[in-house]
Assembly symmetry: C2
DNA sequence: ATGAAAGCGCTAACAA
DNA sequence: TTGTTAGCGCTTTCAT
């Protein structure tokens, strides 16, 4: 492994000069610069970032913690993070917490030991909030979800509005019995989406009896189960709003097994878009989050924070809007039209 | 930021003793050990891995390069990698090459600068093979695909056999006109899967006219286009084998738009399973790769290589088997039954 | 069993 | 403009 000494020796200069050339400190004459550059090339020299990090006290590495990379939502966010980081000369250490707060805590400790310059945390295990010590260790930016009591920098989606749009779309189509498959209520994401549902229902003058509200855990299986429960009540919903991609998959599987037509018998809107959403029959109407952009913005925010000249401008929350993408899994309420017809 | 000096001072010992305690070198008396441990706790001290890395010449970090994390195949492999790495005390720097060989090259350079102990490369941009220099820089293990001329350690799936199983399943169901949507033929993966198709067809005594063979690029759009092409030839196939998850999505979208029933009009088998595969109607028959396990095995192989005592046991290739998961997107060939009936 | 000190490869302050 | 040198925080001989 070549070091600066080797380059310096070959170029016939001091290591300080080599360092100056590498870091473009500009105080080096053209002649020497060329000799150094040539020597570097000849030796195929690559500066040792570890040594550099130790010296300058910054690693140019950030950590990113996600609950599950194999969930396409996080994978897409991660892409944005990786791209922005690379652009600005940072690398990212990926940590998958597997939704386990112990693992998350371990990861945080490891990241600290590795002296990452900051971390992006895409999971709001609220317990973390209590551990303020952790937060003091390095700049952090929260992504997607925000733990209770944290006011730090965060990049979020307006979940309430997103859910509201989804359900309003349904009410506009004439649906009155609208079920929801919600996510965990110990997460801001779960709460906000449920509230968006409530708001839209209320505005439409619709009631939201308990039987229409199922709370899942953001996983496939709970979507499946909730779907079954919703469709087996006495007066089943004509439309269902599912609060994330995984639960939607479970719901769709449920409807398929039950032989319930979508959107003929029941309309479906999902929070989260996904690569498969337009390949389904029917193509799925959904609330799309700007995943890639969320990753980019969060990264920019974190890096700005890291590179801020002491006068720490406290990074605010950035709230992005989700987008309603109307496709074919939602249709006018058939039942109500009949009811309407009967009335006449 | 606390250092060993702080701990040593508080405990009233030398930094050598602190180091010995941390690394469990065992030559420290119980009494001192306790004092050191207490001091560490009191100061909330976490050893600086950067300094340690510089000193010992190992970083306990590995790099992983994937062409696209948002493809669930790679995301799942990554999960396995992350889990195994964490278990053995390594962190992983994730690099997304975006299928661009320049970016990949840049990532490799960065990883080298960061002195990672090894890298996992899940992309066979063949150009790399020529750059043997890169390979000498650190231990590498190839995942999923293998560049030409490389005999290094690699974890692969038996793509030929997987494709063979897929197509054999189709021939067994009585299909004789079987189309294939292949992947890029400058990749081992693309070639092997095509050959598996050819082998199964040949063994079944079936011909493979050019019109049944479409070559895509592993992306959604090419699956869509190929689907259209296949279904618009004079005597369209009654079954299609699609060579990866993304192209399958495109194909499914195509069939849906064309209103072609699956499996009634055409059976579909896909290489790659995915979370959505069992939520589709019909549930998708596919060849599942052991993604998570691939990640685990590749990581173990790489770490063993890294930690090998000089006597470098040259890690072999590990070839895993794919698994045929028969679901409802494949059915007996309807057309042939008719033809059969006519002959009588 | 414990400590003193050298040095990993680099940057930055200072000298020349 | 260029070089000398002192560390960054750690591990590891080598004395004691």
């Amino acid at each position: 492994m070549r070091s600066m000494r080797d380059v310096a020796r070959l170029a016939g200069v001091s290591i300080a000069t080599v360092s100056a050339v590498i870091n473009e400190k500009g105080t080096v004459s053209k002649a020497l610069e060329k000799r150094v550059l040539d020597a570097m090339k000849a030796l195929d020299y690559q500066p040792d970032q570890i040594a550099r990090s130790l010296r300058v006290g910054r690693s140019n590495v950030i950590g990113m913690i996600v609950p599950d990379v194999s969930n396409s939502f996080y994978a897409e966010v991660l892409r944005g993070v990786e791209a922005s980081s690379e652009r600005r000369g940072y690398s990212v250490i990926l940590c998958d917490s597997n939704e386990d707060s112990d693992r998350e805590q371990r990861h945080l400790k490891t990241l600290y030991s590795r002296r990452v310059d900051g971390v992006l945390l895409a999971s709001s295990i609220s317990q973390l909030a209590h551990d303020r010590l952790t937060i003091r260790r390095f700049p952090m930016v929260f992504l997607d979800a925000i733990p209770n009591g944290i006011e730090q920098g965060a990049v979020l989606v307006d979940n309430l509005e997103g859910a509201y749009m989804a359900v309003q779309h349904l009410t506009t189509l004439g649906h009155t019995r609208i079920g929801i498959i919600g996510g965990r209520l110990d997460r801001s994401v779960g709460i906000d989406r449920l509230n968006g549902y409530r708001k839209a229902m209320q505005e439409a003058g619709l009631s939201t009896p308990e039987e229409l509200i199922r709370i899942g855990d953001f996983h496939d299986e709970s979507g499946f189960r909730s779907g079954h429960e919703l469709m087996s009540i006495e007066n089943p919903p004509t439309a269902i709003f599912s609060c994330n991609n995984r639960m939607t998959l479970g719901l769709l599987r449920c409807l398929s097994e039950l032989g319930i037509g979508c959107p003929t018998s029941v309309s479906v809107v999902s929070f989260d878009d996904a690569d498969w959403a337009t390949s389904f029959t029917p193509r799925l109407t959904c609330i799309a989050q700007p995943t890639y952009k969320m990753g980019e913005i969060a990264t920019e925010m974190l890096l700005d924070k890291i590179e801020a000249k002491d006068d720490a401008l406290d990074s605010p929350r950035t709230i992005l809007r989700a987008e309603l993408r109307i496709r074919e899994s939602t249709a006018p309420c058939h039942k109500n039209q009949e009811a309407h017809a009967q009335v006449r």
